[in-house]
Each structure stands twice: as C-alpha cells, then as structure tokens.
Amino acid sequence: MILTKQNLMPLLRNLTGAERDVFVPTQVDGVSKFALMDKGTVPDFEQVNTTMPPKDLLFPQTQKMYHFDVDANGSYRIHEYDESREQLVFGIRPCDMRSIVCLDEVFLTKGFVDEFYANAREKLTCVCIGCASAAETCFCASMDVDPQLAPNADVMLQDCGDVYNVIAQTPKGEVEVAAWAPFVEEGVVEPVTCEQSLAVSMEGVVDKLEGMYDHPIWDNLSIKCLNCGTCTYLCPTCHCFDISQDMRRKDGVRFRCWDSCMFSEYTMMAGGHNPRPEKLERVRNRFMHKLNFFERRYGMSLCVGCGRCVEKCPVALDITRLIDDVAAIG
C-alpha cells in the first residue's frame, strides 16, 4: 500500500478526534518536539529527528503517582493517578522507535512491570516515518538501526520520494491502516536509501569496555564535561527518575520526575556518602551504561545513534569520538 505525500496532511487531519491525542513533530516556541496536533499545528516532517525525544509520551518529565491526605478520623487516604490516554504518535523516526524497545525492556521485563509506563505503552500507537536523508549527527546505521525500518512500529511509512510505502506491522497497525482506506492506494515502491555521513564501528567495543573501568580515557573525557543534564534529558533512551513529593500540611502529591546520572545529587546517599563523587565516575557511568552495562543485561545497546547529545552538548563531548577512541585502543 502507498500513501502519496500530498495525501499526508488530509490523512492527518482525519486522524485527530476526541477519543485520542495525536502527536506530531513540530516547532513549539522554537523547540522541535512532538506536540499535540490541533487545528493550528504545522507538522514538520522535514526535520530528521526532533530536539526533544518522544520519550515523554510514555515517561513524562513529571508524572503524578498518587495523592495522599488524612480524613476526619485521622487515617491516611491514598488516591492513585492514572493519567494515561489513548495516544497516536505520527512521524516518529526509526532511532526513536528503537529507543522504545530499550524503554520496554527497562519498564516491562525481568519481572518488573512499571504500571504507569505499561498503561501508557498499551494505549500508544506508533506510526514511524523512515528517513530518506540523515542529519549531520545521525549515526543510527552504526548502532544496528536501519533508517527505513522499525519492526516495533505499529505502522511503518517508508520514504520513497513522493510516496510512502505503508506497512501495517502489528494488529493495532492493521486496524489503523484499515481506517486510512480513503487516503492510500495499492502499490509498493522502492524506498530511498538513506546515506549517513557519520559512521562508527562498534566492532569489539562492548568487550573492550569491560576491561576499561580504570582506563585514563575517562579522565580525558570527563574533564571537559559540565555535568549538566542536557545529554541525558535529550537522550531518547535515558530513563532514570527520582520520586519526590509536594506537601501542604496534611495532604500532598507524590510524583516522579526525570533525573540524570550527570548530577552530583543523583547518587547522594542519606548521610552524605556519594559513590560517584566526581565528574569522572559520572561520565564513565553514562557511557558504560550506554555501551556496555545495558548490552550485558538486555543484549542491546542503550545508544540508538540519534545524535541528539552530539548535537546539543554545550562542550561538544561526542559519544561517537569515544566509540572511535575505544575501538582504536590496541
């Protein structure tokens, strides 16, 4: 099945309805992100990937967990929140679809199910658009992602120039595409090959990192890091959170919010001990988690090659250079 690019906007306008929220890549006050599609929204399908990753659709930066208070008899009451809604994200890219594979592993497997994530995930439909061209900082092809494929998307739209190949990949996707009938037609076209100028070789890197815990590379790298939260907050796979509360006398809200392993306060223990006291330990942790620990635990890289941290780090600390440097070590 194919969808012509002329039919893209008419289709999108048809998808928005009261029963679910539709998110598209767009510019909001100069920041590119996935935002709720309404009448005035101008989707931006030209930009390769958004500055803000789509992870907040499943894992909001701040998420209420429960409200608590004390009733007239002095006993505690707890009200749980479930703010999940049916959501459709249209135009998510293959690197970001892969990031959802990583998040699913963290939040849904190994005997731990995060209910908030599970509820949101259940209600999310993903329409992925493949990439015909890459940004300067994209290197997903080096991280085992095909820029025109995303097996976990409900619907895959492969960019073939003037048209998209429409591929329903899940039962949810089949229901979705069935409703697109007025906008799609029969046919299959050869997808455009996406050229990426940035490439790294992960050959041997995971194993090498195993023996590199005390290697001088971490000092050289971390010395220029600011320990800000830019790379972790913009990373589609970073998923650390903190739980805190907003209290007013006898009632309050417990919420969770994104946290970052780059912050000194992240590993601070009650009593004042900090097992990752300096930049070196924090930077090492971030890259080890991306390129080694996650691989060991879940059998995949926690870096999907989206290039956001490469693009936005204020000191140009570049994960692709680290990968090259590790690969070059004899």
Partner: protein, 284 residues
C-alpha cells in the same frame, strides 16, 4: 607566526619546563569548523591546540576544576579573562594558580551558518582584561552601541504581555542546569537546587518551579555576571537568559551607578553584598 602557533609553542614550553601542570585550550571536533575544549598535561599534545574563529566555549570555569592538579596554563580572550577575574575575586582560585596567554578576539562564528554568535555580537570586551603574555595583537573591536537593547524591548511590553512571554519562556526549560554549570559565577560548593532536604525548589518540571530556579540564579549572580552569554548559548532549549541577566544589571546600574563586573582584580565588592548609608531604598 599566527596566534595559534604561538599558543602551541608556549603551551609546549610551559608544560616541558614544568611551569604549568595542565594547559587548557581548544581542539578541533569531528565536524567541520567544530571545536571542543581541550585539557592537556603532556607537551606532545600541544599541537592539538587550535585557536580560530570557531572556539565557542568560554574556558574560565575549567580553571576551577583543574587547579587541584597544579598550576594551570590557559588561553584567554576577553570573556575567558573576565571569568578568571571572577573566580579569583570570588576566592575560588588564586591569581598564581593560573598562567594566562591572552589572545585578541574579533568574535566567534556559528560553525553551520558562519554568523557571529549572539553572545559575541553583544560582547563589550574582546581583548583580555588580564593576562601574563599576549599571543598576537589585541583585536580592539569597537563596542556594540546598546548594552540593554533586549531589556528595553521587554520593558516596552505591557504587564500581561510580559507575563505571557515569560510563561512561554519557562514552559520550555527542561531544568538541565547547563546554564548554571557553564557559568563562571556559579561556583557554590552546593547549589541551592541540589539541597534536597531544604527543598528550596521542587524537582517537578513546571513553569513555577522552572521560573523560581532561573530567577533565583539570576539574583544570585546579579552583580557578578560577566555578560559572557555562555548560559544563553549553552541552553539547549534556547531560553533568552541574557534578557534576565541584563535586566538586573541595568537596574543595578540605575540604582548604584554604572559598572561592569570582573574587569579588574581590585574591583569594589559586589553591589548586593555591601551596605552603604546612601544606598537608595525606594520602597521605604
């Protein structure tokens, strides 16, 4: 000999002679016209140093982290040198902890567009205010005519317009704290945002908490801000942070007379930490 050649040669000498333990400058990044900060300890790495019109990072703050390893050599332009003055005057480092190689700066360009960076278009001091030696000549760039142009624009808004404008601004902040972490004035051993027990600022991301964080920081660096513009450049969400810094600086100028922070090692103590009987108290 270009300034870059001089910097490489001098960095090599300083490291070889043991006059400094580390040297801070820039090196090329992976992409065209990209640079990234470089800290070296080995004289044989001196040839990695670059100095060109794409050296976007202000280096001063690194001196704070690196002085623990011994004396630091570094390249300073106007902004870097004022950051160093700030660190010294705030007693974060000592003058003798650093050996400064000055270089005149005509402004830094965006590596993709080739345009002068906003912070550099607004910069009033391209040449170092202190250094131990110069590599090449001062640039002697003319100062931009209007220091508070952006502040005037905000002041012209009506109150409801202003409030809407800043709501929009703070809705974008992701609280990554890059603005704090890059700032040469933000050198508190423990930042108020990290004091979890006191919980001055909640961890939830919303306009109220984001604004509280940002305005508290603005007031905390008010009379020390060197106007390097690094906070605004580093912000991944493009918040117009210099509007706030300059608003406070403008108010301080109006209340206490015109000043620029961090121009000399013997500057007067900050306007907001000193008390004078003639201080204006317009609200009493």
């Amino acid at each position: 000999m270009t300034a870059q050649d001089t910097i490489r040669a001098r960095a090599r000498e300083l490291l070889e002679n043991g006059e400094v333990t580390t040297f801070i400058g820039w090196e090329s990044g992976r992409f065209e016209n990209q640079t990234t900060p470089l800290v070296i300890t080995d004289a044989s790495d001196a040839d990695k140093l670059v100095c060109n019109e794409y050296c976007v990072n202000t280096l001063a703050k690194y001196a704070r982290d690196v002085v623990t390893r011994g004396k630091v050599g570094m390249v300073v332009r106007g902004c870097d040198s004022r950051g160093i003055v700030r660190l010294i005057n705030d007693q974060v480092i000592n003058r003798e902890d650093v050996y400064l190689i000055g270089v005149g700066c005509a402004g830094v360009r965006d590596r993709k567009t080739g345009e002068l960076l906003k912070k550099c278009a607004e910069c009033r001091h391209g040449d170092p205010v202190i250094c131990d030696e110069m590599a090449g000549d001062a640039a002697g760039r003319p100062q931009p005519s209007e220091r508070f142009k952006e502040v005037h624009e905000v002041e012209l808004m009506t109150q409801p317009e202003r409030s809407r404008y800043f709501e929009g601004v703070y809705a974008k902040c992701i609280r990554c704290y890059a603005c704090r972490d890059v700032c040469p004035c933000c050198t508190c051993r423990e930042c108020f945002v990290d004091q979890r027990r006191e919980n001055w600022v909640g961890k939830q991301n919303n306009v109220a908490e984001n604004r509280f964080y940002s305005l508290t920081r603005v007031m905390h660096i008010a009379d020390r801000c060197i106007e390097c513009g690094e906070c605004e450049r580093a912000c991944p969400m493009g918040l117009p942070l210099m509007k706030l810094n300059r608003k406070v600086i403008k108010d301080l100028n109006d209340l206490f007379g015109e000043f620029e922070s961090s121009m000399t090692l013997d500057e007067e103590p900050g306007k907001l930490i000193t008390y004078d009987l003639v201080d204006c108290e317009e609200f009493m």
